[in-house]
Amino acid sequence: MPETTRMVLAGEGGQGVQAIAEILAEAANEEGRQALYIPNFGVEQRGGVSVAFLQISDDAIGSPKFLKGDVVAALSDRAVQRTAPYAGPETTFIYDSAMEGVADDLPQDAARVMPVPAMEVAKKEFHPRVYNMVMMGALIGATGIIPLDRARAAIEKRFGYKFEKQPQLRDLNFRALERGMELGCGTEGVIN
């Protein structure tokens, strides 16, 4: 891991990319590390591609703006297009393998390009709503950016109020996260 890990996460509005970034940032902060998370935001309240920029470091973090991400994750086909410019020769680029017609948009010179069957797994084994949890698990699995228990604690903090009402959701989210981690650890992808 470089001293500062820079991540760009993108997806359709409602897919929960901001939640992933917030949870990762929260978890890193709870670990006593430095974290800086900033959502992109435009004049539209809804619709469009939602992008989250996240940096985690042991030292003070510089500008919230950076040119290339160490990890770039795209949760939708439009997000692949939107985030490809943030991928450079050192980038791990993660995307959902169920997307069609994105081959031309995938970054050519990224260090590692990793398709993950997150949507398929979410649909078959859990619920499409936990797609972002599977993806977050895959991210953690592929990068080791934060320990699993910190991620769990941050999810609890973020969604605890929902879990109070529907305790089965807690289990669903945690299992999706763990399953995602397996996918992240087990997928090598294309190494350039």
């Binding site: 430095q34 992109n40 935001f41 435009g42 003070a60 500008s63 919230p64």
Partner: protein, 362 residues
């Protein structure tokens, strides 16, 4: 019944707008007047949730003119009042703030810069420097702190209230959309527990007693009949401002001694500069960094020293020369080369600064 406000010293992780609301509480602010404009909205959101718990008030006005003038009314009544705005809201706010300058009112205004001119973007820029430092039909008798992140937002918002009430010049905390919306850790604290005495506000009007019988009436105006009358009033304010300038001007510098080139930037852009200076020095380049923290008044003697002893400076900003103009004025006559990296309305990454420095030093 309202609760007593207790701020335990602790590390927190929140957005910049939330930081401002907490800092205003910590500074003992009594009332906020505001009008929605992105990216400052959450200052109002957090304040309007927190304020009633601690017996404090919020008023959403019909526009920014009203928010600014109501803030003027609030401080004249002897309450720590503040407002927050951005972009075209800042433009409207110049009218009340010009009055605050003229009447020496301790208003505190938080500006979260967005893209300009006009509606532009709701995201980020450093394009409200000229407006915040010199806006209005006057001489810029205002104090402006440019923050570079959440700890700054907390520290300088508290400082802004104290400074405003001590010297009675309108005071600004100049942030931006990145700082408004990003989350990062900071330490919040009770300023009094850190030995910072919070000044008690002193009313302009509405003191005890009947005017004309127990005391003279307190009468404030911003209109003058004679040129000479205005001149005297202005020169008195200008002298006051100049007197406090060296005392209140703040800056940050890194490796400026024996540097071949110093990168000058303010606000959040200086974070990219810190990073760039570190990387460039690792590569053996003699590069330093200088950041004016107060944009008004500028740390003019330090800028003077800097340019007198240097061959090259590089000014970097997310605007097309707004801070550069202020710097050039302070550096007037120096032989130092002034290079620029201007990116109006967009963020600047360390890598871009490093490339520009290498190009200059090639």
């Amino acid at each position: 019944m309202s609760e007593e406000l207790v701020i335990e010293e602790k590390r927190v992780f929140m957005t910049g707008n939330e930081v401002v609301a907490w800092a205003a509480l910590a500074a003992g602010a009594d009332i906020m007047y505001g009008y929605p404009i992105t990216p400052q909205n959450e200052i109002m959101h957090y304040w309007s949730r927190l304020a009633p718990r601690y017996g404090k008030d919020f008023l959403q006005t019909e526009d920014e003119l009203s928010a600014g003038f109501a803030t003027a009314g609030g401080v004249m009544a002897g309450r720590k009042a503040f407002t927050a705005t951005a972009g075209s809201g800042s433009v409207l706010m110049q009218e009340p703030l010009a009055m605050a300058e003229m009447m020496r009112l301790p208003t505190v205004t938080v500006v979260q810069q967005r893209g300009g001119p006009s509606t532009a973007t709701v995201i980020y820029s450093q394009q409200e420097v000229t407006l915040t430092t010199m806006g209005g039909n006057g001489e810029g008798m205002r104090v402006v702190y440019s923050t570079a992140g959440h700890q700054d937002l907390y520290d300088y918002t508290i400082k802004a209230f104290n400074l405003a009430w001590k010297y009675r010049f309108p005071t600004f905390v100049l942030g931006d959309g990145y700082q408004a919306k990003m989350r990062e850790p900071l330490t919040i604290y009770d300023p009094e527990k850190r030995g910072i005495t919070l000044l008690e506000p002193d009313p302009y009007v509405g003191r005890e007693g009947e005017p004309g019988r127990d005391r003279p009436p307190a009468q404030y105006r911003n209109t003058y009949n004679l040129e000479e009358e205005l001149y005297e009033k202005l020169m008195s304010d200008i002298r006051d401002f100049e007197k406090i300038s060296t005392e209140i001007a703040e800056y940050e510098s890194m490796h400026t001694e024996e540097a071949e080139l110093v990168i000058v930037a303010h606000g959040i852009v200086f974070r990219a500069v810190r990073e760039a200076v570190g990387n460039l020095r690792e590569q053996g380049l003699r590069v330093g960094g200088f950041r004016p923290v107060t944009l008004r008044p500028l740390p003019a003697p330090q800028i003077r020293d800097l340019v007198d002893g240097l061959k090259k400076i590089l000014v970097v900003e997310s605007a097309y020369g707004q801070i550069a103009r202020l710097l050039k004025e302070a550096a007037y006559g120096a032989a130092c080369e002034i290079h620029t990296l201007f990116k109006p309305g967009v963020g600047i990454a360390a890598g871009e600064i490093e490339d520009r420095v290498k190009e200059i030093l090639k």
